[in-house]
Symmetry: C2
Subunit: 333 residues, 2 copies
């Protein structure tokens, strides 16, 4: 069985829980015959590489390094989970400063070491912001960088599946856009249960308004719930979904969920957020989203929250004022 | 894409590191559309199930339970990592008593709850012994129970790949038999490097006797090395390889490595140990192994070590004297 590409796939943060899962998942998905594991922490990184060798993955060139130059030289695809993990009780925002700095450095490194990279997926929190920062400093085209934004949508599918007691593939086209967790905009109007529009079910005995409010709350708390249950942040689902994104940009199976991407049209400008997006070897193409009036209002509010977060990073001096962005990355005009 | 079977696959120990990886790996391998996660520890188990839902694995029925009866009822395939993990500094033998008791209970539960199970893979340490104990108490036919025994062989392939600086698929047919780690018997005579018999290379400048001794030592220490590097026991490779075994007995791709299986012929009797084995939907079929005189001597010694371990368990009163075994499991005559 062949690999989708021979192009170098770099997994950054490969010593961590998400990253080590990504190593295995990428190889099992047969994404690239050339996988480079990068992490600044050398010993556990080597341990992860050893595990991959011991799996008997013998037709894939697995390299590992703590040298960012060695890692990024010749990289065609990068997926980075290389931020700090969200601990119990922490909000996404708590992570903001540290991870913003890591993202800025990642962008600079990409610009210096692999300006010809095809696509970069950023998944460390808050991914909307770290992705934006990486995009700014990397000089890449907006279509070349995406962020993990699917988890709220898969969690919505999961909770609806539980509620209706059906296999989850009968809950179709679940979509949340904008930010994540408490700031996401749930688009009930896109989803269907056994082909019946979800919107027609909300407020009926099948799905009372109280049920629906409870389900949305469970989606919002989905990440915290994993921490409470397992004593660690989710790592399997972010790993799997982000590599499904990589697979799509490599020309493999289409990605079925929303994607975090650069949006700079209509009412939304200078932001990375979860949107309806096509991922192809040409990169990410953001599609128009249309929901009910309330949903659009929720999305606008979610967008404003992300703008606040972005502006906070500007105030911290980690990225310049928006007016200066095209100087930093001419692709962001 | 369809699943290999709709038969119920039970992953026991699913809240642990190996088990939670097995949940994801089994679904990614598309083994069964009906996966039941079992673990006595309820909260992290639910967390693992949530992660699987959040991956968007939506066409597979994923159930989870801490009730062994609910888990095993109707089980067609079981893979169990449900023992204690080997901590830093512990030998496999330290784990013996606790895990032997868990294995005895697993066997009794299989006999009581799912006597029609097709195949059981036991992977908790020391797997040669826990598998033997489970087989004894389960009443299954020897062909229906196997243990994970491939890791020494994949580690040998890995170390030879490093030494010869070639992709690991050019190191073919690496084989260790008998016990594991310090007690394994390395069969250099089966392996080849780029088609050249490994035996012809040992003692030449390409692979001096010192190199070869060092490589064997690294294979023996492969598991400890992971603990030293990562601060935790290996979990990705045991998970992946044991599910490749399950895949083979489900009728999927053949398993390429040695398997731990019941051996009761020729000079080896009343033992479970790593052997050359065919895994098919009819179960495990142990094949004759022939090596050099020294290799056969090593294997005999490895076997004797396992017999000592087995006899220790008999002395502990956890399994009866060998003469009584056929009463406990008539398939073991």
């Amino acid at each position: 069985m062949s690999y989708l590409t021979d192009g170098k796939l770099v997994i950054a943060g490969a010593a961590g829980m998400i990253g080590s899962n990504m190593a295995q998942t990428a190889i099992m998905m047969r994404l690239s015959s050339n996988v480079c594991l990068y992490d600044p922490i050398a010993a556990p990184l080597e341990g992860v590489a050893e595990e991959m060798f011991h799996c008997g993955f013998d037709d894939v060139n697995i390299t590992f390094t703590s040298n960012i130059e060695e890692a990024l030289r010749g990289a065609q695809y990068i997926v980075s989970s290389g931020g700090a993990a969200r601990g119990a009780g922490m909000t996404r925002e708590d992570l903001l400063k540290g991870n913003a700095e890591i993202a800025a450095q990642l962008g600079k490194d990409i610009r210096a070491l692999c300006p010809d990279v095809k696509h970069v997926v950023v998944i460390f929190n808050p991914a909307d912001i770290t992705g934006l920062i990486t995009l700014l400093y990397s000089g890449l085209r907006p279509s070349q960088l995406t962020t993990l934004a699917a988890l709220d949508s898969t969690r919505l599918q999961s909770e609806l599946g539980k509620h209706f007691k059906v296999l989850r593939n009968r809950i179709t086209n679940c979509r949340t856009y904008g930010g994540h967790g408490e700031q996401m905009a749930v688009f009930a109007s896109t989803a269907a249960v056994d082909g019946k529009p979800l919107r027609d079910l909300i407020g009926t005995s099948a799905l009372t308004n109280e049920d629906w409010a409870r389900i949305k709350e469970k989606v919002i708390q989905g990440g915290k719930n994993i921490i409470n249950l397992r004593g660690r942040s989710s790592f399997q689902s972010p790993s799997f979904l982000s590599l499904e994104m990589v697979r799509a940009v490599m020309g493999g199976a289409p990605f079925r969920w929303p994607v975090g991407a650069w949006v700079n049209q209509g009412q939304f400008s200078n932001i990375v957020m979860a949107m309806e997006t096509k991922l192809t070897p040409q990169g990410a193409e953001v599609c128009q989203v249309t929901g009910t009036e309330d949903e659009q209002k929720d999305l606008a509010q979610s967008y404003r929250h992300l703008c606040d977060l972005r502006d906070e990073v500007i105030k911290m001096g980690l990225i310049p004022e928006i007016g200066e962005w095209p100087k930093l990355n001419p692709n962001l005009r």
